[in-house]
C-alpha cells in the first residue's frame, strides 16, 4: 500500500518554536496578581501528627493562604487504590510527604512561611525494607487498608498493597520434564524519570467559580478527573490546559502539584503557581519501583523453555499510586517474547515508609526483564548455546498466544533478532576486555480509551482534536500525519488542536506506549468518518453514487469519469453555507480483545483490556576496565518491531532516547535511601547519561503490519529502555566472565565480583 504522508520523515510541527526559545513551558507563564506556592514536607518516614500550628506563618506579611488536611475534603485518592490524602492526615508515611501548602506574594515569603509552621510529630517505627514489610509483625503503613476503595479485584493484607497471580499449564509437570532447572534472584534500585523540566502548574479561578489549571502534564483529562475527585468539584467546573512539556516519562501522568494550586487559588482568590525544585523532584515525587525478582526456569538440553516460576516483589513506598498496575503489568510482561507452556507468576506490590513510587517508562517491565533476560543469558552459557540463538529458538511467532492467552497478530521479534545479529556482526572477533550482549523486549501498546474528532474547515483544510498529549515524543506530528493520510491532505493542511479539556476529547493519557496505536486509531477513524461525509456531500452535488467516488489530494473524484470532481474547498463552502453544516467526523476507541483465555488462572489483575504487542531486541558491545571496574558501552544497536513507522525519525528518536535512559539504569542511576530519606538529591548525586556516556546508537526499524493498528502501526515509546540493562550485563559477562545480579553495575560491584 503506497502512502503519501505516513512513513515520511517529517520534521516536528512545533520544532521551530523550540529552537528559538519561543516554546512556553509552565514556568514561562505568569498572570497578574499571581501568588507563588510551596509545600511543607515531612522530615520523618513514619510519624503521628499531634498538632500543626500555622498561626505564625499566617501572620507573616505577604502570606495569602495556608492549607493543611483540615482545609480539604476528608478523602483519599489514587488511580488503583484510594489510599493517598492530598496533605498528610493524622500521620506521615514518608520523608517528603506534603503536610501543608502555602501561597504568598513571592517564593521567598512562601519559603519563610514554611519555616514558621510548627508541626508536632510523634515518631513511629518505620518499615523500609519490603521483605521485612511482608512479615506479619512488621510496622503497618496503612492501618485501614481494607477500607480503601480499589478499582479492581484487589488481594491485599498487612503491608501487601496488592497481589496478582497468573498461572497456565502445569508448573510441577513442566519442571519435571526439564533437563535443567535454574533459579536466580535479581534486584533493581529506585530510578528517577529526570525529565529536565520539573513538575509545575498554575491555577486560577474565574468569577463563576470555574477553575482553569495550566499544567506540565501527560494528560489534561486525567488531571481534570483527579482534581474534581480530590477537591469535590464537578468536572464541568474544572478546565485543564497543557503547556509545552519538558519531558515526562511517566512522572506527569498522575497529579503532582495541581490540586494544591487549585486549593490555594480557591482560598486566596488569586492565581497560584507551584514549580517543584529539582531536589523536590528527586526526593518526593514518584520514581520507578525498586524490585527483588526470583526466577526459576526449566529448560531442555536444546534450550527449549518448558516451565517458569517468577516471584516479583516491587516496593511501592508509602502509597499505591500506579503500583498495582505496575506490578500487574510487570507480571504480564515477565516471561518475555517467548513460548513457555507452563508458568506461574506472582507479583507483590508492597508498602514501605519510603517515597511513593510510580510510573516510569516501562511500567514494571524493566525490573522483570532485568531478571528474566539476565537469567536467559546464564542458561544459554551453561548449555553452550549462543545467547542470540536461544532467543530465536524460543521466540514467539504470529498466531502464537502470549502470557494470559491473548491472540497475537503481528510478531516481529525474530526479525528484530536477525537484524541485530547481522547489524552487529554478532560472531565477528572481539578485542580484549570487550564483550557482546543481547536482550529482548515485548511491551503493550494500548490500555483504556481514546477519542478524536476531525472538522473540515470552509477552505477544505482540517482541524484534528484528539486528547493526545505531546510531551516531546512527537505525537502531534504523528497524529497530523495519520489524519492527513486518511483525509488525502498534505500535512500543512492539518492543524492539531492543543490539549485543553474544553476542546480536545477524552484520552486516558500519554502512557503505555499508546498514542500512535490508540489515539492514532481514533484519529484515523474520525478522519475516515469526515472523509465519508465529504464523499456523501460530493455525491449529492455531483449526482453520482457515493461508492463511485474517491477522495484524495483535496478533491473528491469520480472513479469512472475523472473529469467529474469537486474540491474539498468547494465542499467546505457548500457545507458551511448551503447544505448540512460543518463536516465533523468523530470516533471513540478501545481495544476489544479478551486479555485472558478461560483456561488461564488469573487473580487480582488490574486491567480489563490490554492492546497490541510490540517487540524489540538490542545488542551492545562493552569494554570493561579491569583496574577500575568501569564499564563503557562502545557499540549499541537497537531493532524494534513497531508495526508501521508513521514517522521513522520519531521512532529512531524514541529508540535512541530510551536506550540512553537504559544505560543510566544499567550503569549508575540509583536513588539512594538512608534512614528512609533519599540522599541522591541533586543531579550531581543522581547522575544521568551525558553525551560522553553513550556511543552513536544505531536504531533499526522492523516493520510488521498490525491489522488492528492505524495504517498497521503499533508503538515504540517505552520498549527501548527495557532490554538495555540486561543486554549490558550480559555483555559484561561476555567480556570478563562475571555475573552481576544487582543494578546498577557500578565499578565497585564489578570489582567486587571480579575478586570472587
Amino acid at each position: 500500500m503506497g502512502f503519501s504522508v505516513v512513513g515520511q520523515n517529517l520534521p516536528r510541527l512545533e520544532g521551530k518554536e523550540k529552537v528559538t526559545g519561543q516554546a512556553k513551558y509552565i514556568d514561562d507563564l505568569n498572570f497578574p496578581n499571581m501568588l507563588h506556592g510551596k509545600l511543607l514536607r515531612s522530615p520523618y518516614p513514619h510519624a503521628r501528627i499531634v498538632a500543626i500550628d500555622t498561626a505564625a506563618a499566617k501572620a507573616l506579611p505577604g502570606v495569602k493562604a495556608i492549607i493543611t488536611a483540615e482545609d480539604l475534603p476528608d478523602r483519599r485518592h489514587g488511580p488503583f487504590v484510594q489510599d493517598t490524602p492530598l496533605l498528610a492526615r493524622g500521620k506521615v508515611n514518608y520523608v517528603g510527604e506534603p503536610v501543608a501548602a502555602v501561597a504568598a506574594v513571592s517564593l521567598e515569603v512562601a519559603e519563610r512561611a514554611l519555616s514558621l509552621i510548627k508541626v508536632n510529630y510523634e515518631r513511629l517505627s518505620e518499615v523500609l525494607d519490603p521483605l521485612i514489610a511482608m512479615e506479619s509483625d512488621a510496622p503497618v503503613v496503612h492501618e485501614n487498608l481494607d477500607a480503601y476503595p480499589a478499582v479492581f479485584p484487589v488481594q491485599r493484607h498487612g503491608n501487601i498493597c496488592s497481589l496478582i497471580t497468573i498461572e497456565d499449564g502445569d508448573i510441577e509437570q513442566g519442571f519435571k520434564t526439564a533437563d535443567f532447572v535454574f533459579e536466580d534472584t535479581f534486584t533493581t534500585p529506585m530510578a528517577h524519570q529526570c525529565h529536565l523540566e520539573t513538575n509545575g502548574a498554575i491555577a486560577a479561578i474565574d468569577a463563576q467559580g470555574r477553575v482553569t489549571v495550566w499544567a506540565s502534564t501527560q494528560s489534561v483529562h486525567l488531571n481534570q478527573i483527579r482534581i474534581a475527585e480530590t477537591l469535590d468539584m464537578p468536572m464541568s467546573k474544572v478546565r485543564v490546559i497543557q503547556t509545552r512539556v519538558g519531558g515526562g516519562f511517566g512522572a506527569k501522568v498522575e497529579l503532582t502539584v495541581q490540586p494544591y494550586c487549585v486549593a490555594l487559588a480557591r482560598l486566596s482568590k488569586r492565581p497560584v503557581k507551584i514549580i517543584l525544585t529539582r531536589e523536590e523532584e528527586l526526593v518526593a515525587t514518584r520514581p520507578r519501583h525498586s524490585s527483588i525478582v526470583t526466577v526459576k526456569t526449566g529448560v531442555k538440553k536444546d534450550g527449549t523453555l518448558v516451565a517458569r516460576q517468577i516471584k516479583l516483589i516491587y516496593d511501592t513506598g508509602a502509597y499505591a499510586d500506579d503500583g498495582p498496575g505496575i506490578v500487574g503489568f510487570g507480571s504480564l510482561m515477565a516471561n518475555g517474547p517467548y513460548r513457555i507452556p507452563n508458568y506461574k507468576i506472582e507479583g507483590y506490590c508492597v508498602y514501605t515508609n519510603k517515597v511513593a513510587t510510580g510510573a516510569y517508562r516501562g511500567f514494571g517491565n524493566p525490573q522483570a526483564a532485568w531478571a528474566c533476560e539476565s537469567q536467559l543469558d546464564i542458561i544459554s552459557r551453561e548449555l553452550g548455546i549462543d545467547p542470540l540463538e536461544i532467543r530465536l529458538r524460543n521466540a514467539l511467532d504470529p498466531g502464537d498466544k502470549t502470557v494470559g492467552g491473548q491472540n497475537l497478530f503481528s510478531v516481529g521479534i525474530k526479525e528484530c533478532l536477525k537484524a541485530i545479529k547481522e547489524g552487529m556482526d554478532w560472531e565477528s572477533p572481539k578485542s580484549k576486555n570487550r564483550g557482546r550482549g543481547v536482550a529482548c523486549v515485548h511491551h503493550l501498546s494500548g490500555l483504556l480509551a481514546s477519542s478524536a474528532y476531525v472538522r473540515i474547515n470552509q477552505d477544505g483544510t482540517a482541524h484534528v482534536a484528539v486528547g493526545a498529549a505531546d510531551i516531546g515524543q512527537g505525537s502531534d506530528t504523528t497524529m497530523a500525519q495519520i489524519a492527513a493520510e486518511e483525509l488525502g491532505l498534505s500535512i500543512e493542511d492539518v492543524a492539531v488542536v492543543s490539549q485543553d479539556t474544553d476542546s480536545t476529547p477524552y484520552n486516558w493519557a500519554t502512557t503505555a506506549t499508546r498514542l500512535t496505536y490508540m489515539a492514532g486509531n481514533a484519529v484515523r477513524r474520525a478522519a475516515a468518518d469526515a472523509k465519508q461525509q465529504l464523499i456523501n456531500l460530493a455525491a449529492e452535488v455531483l449526482g453520482l453514487p457515493a461508492d463511485k467516488l474517491s477522495a484524495r489530494n483535496k478533491v473528491v473524484v469520480s472513479v469512472d469519469e475523472p473529469q467529474k470532481r469537486i474540491s474539498y474547498a468547494e465542499l467546505g463552502v457548500i457545507s458551511h453555507w448551503v447544505k448540512g453544516g460543518q463536516i465533523i467526523g468523530n470516533n471513540s476507541w478501545m481495544f476489544n480483545e479478551q486479555p485472558f483465555s478461560i483456561d488461564v488462572k488469573v487473580t487480582g489483575f488490574p486491567f480489563r483490556v490490554l492492546g497490541a504487542y510490540n517487540y524489540g531486541a538490542h545488542a551492545v558491545e562493552v569494554e570493561v576496565d579491569h583496574e577500575t571496574g568501569l564499564v563503557r558501552v562502545v557499540n549499541a544497536l537497537t531493532a524494534h518491531d513497531v508495526g508501521k513507522a508513521i514517522n521513522p525519525l520519531s521512532v529512531e528518536g524514541q529508540s535512541q532516547g530510551g536506550f540512553t535512559q537504559g544505560v543510566g539504569y544499567a550503569l549508575f542511576e540509583d536513588l539512594k535511601v538512608k534512614d528512609g530519606k533519599i540522599i541522591s538529591n541533586t543531579l550531581l548525586d543522581y547522575k544521568i547519561p551525558t553525551a560522553v556516556d553513550v556511543p552513536a546508537i544505531k536504531s533499526l526499524i522492523v516493520e510488521t503490519n498490525e491489522q488492528t493498528g492505524p495504517f498497521g502501526a503499533k508503538g515504540i515509546g517505552e520498549a527501548p529502555l527495557v532490554p538495555v540493562a540486561p543486554a549490558i550485563a550480559n555483555a559484561v559477562y561476555d567480556a570478563i566472565g562475571v555475573r552481576v545480579k544487582d543494578l546498577p553495575l557500578t565499578p565497585e560491584r564489578i570489582l567486587d565480583a571480579l575478586k570472587v
Binding site: K16, V19, C194, L683, T690, A691
Partner: protein, 168 residues
C-alpha cells in the same frame, strides 16, 4: 557599583548588561542569579531552569564568548558583560544554521534542553569550526538531554559545521 538599602537592611545593586545586543539596567540583590534576571526582569524565558545547581545545562547562555550556566552566575558578575540567549541566536528572523540543523536532524524532542544545547554548540563552533565527534560530545557533556540519546544532536552539530552526516 551603585547600591541602595531597603528598610530591612537588604542591599540592592544597579547593574548594566548587554543581552542580544541591547543594554539593560536592572536592580538586583547580592544573591540574584543571572538566570532570574534574564527570565523575570527581561522576560527572556527561552533560557530554562532545570536544576538551579549548575548540573543540567538547561540555563546555558553565552557570556563574553563563553558558555556558562546562568543559574550559578550571580547577576553582579554579569555587570558590564555581553550575553547571548537563545532569543538572540536567530538574526532578523533568519534561523542560525544550528537552529536549522537541529530541525533537520530532529535533534529536538521535548525541547527543554534545546536552548542551552544550541548555545553550547554555538560556542563550540565559534572557537572550533570543524570539531571531531569526540570534541562535539565533550562540548555538550554539560548539557543533559533525557529524550534524544544525543545521536541526532551530534548529527545536527556536524551538519551545522558543514560535515557529512549519516542518512537516517
Amino acid at each position: 557599583m551603585q547600591a541602595i538599602v531597603d528598610k530591612e537592611g537588604i542591599k540592592r545593586y544597579l547593574i548594566s548588561l548587554t543581552v542580544n545586543g541591547d543594554t539593560y539596567t536592572v536592580v538586583v540583590k547580592a544573591n540574584t542569579m543571572l538566570v532570574n534576571v534574564l527570565r523575570e526582569e527581561l522576560n527572556l524565558t527561552g533560557t530554562k531552569k532545570g536544576c538551579e545547581t549548575g548540573d543540567c545545562g538547561s540555563c546555558t547562555v553565552i557570556m563574553d564568548g563563553k558558555p556558562v550556566n546562568s543559574c550559578i552566575i550571580l547577576a553582579l558578575e554579569a555587570d558590564g558583560k555581553e550575553i547571548t540567549t537563545i532569543e538572540g541566536v536567530a538574526q532578523n528572523g533568519v534561523l542560525d544554521k544550528l537552529q536549522e540543523s537541529f530541525l533537520n536532524q530532529t535533534a529536538v524532542q521535548c525541547g527543554y534542553c534545546t536552548p542551552g544545547m544550541i548555545l553550547s554548540a554555538k560556542a563550540l563552533l565559534t572557537r572550533n569550526p570543524n570539531p571531531t565527534e569526540h570534541e562535539i560530545r565533550e562540548a555538550i557533556a554539560g548539557n543533559l538531554c533525557r529524550c534524544t540519546g544525543y545521536v541526532n544532536i551530534v548529527k545536527a552539530i556536524k551538519e551545522a559545521a558543514g560535515q557529512p552526516v549519516d542518512e537516517h
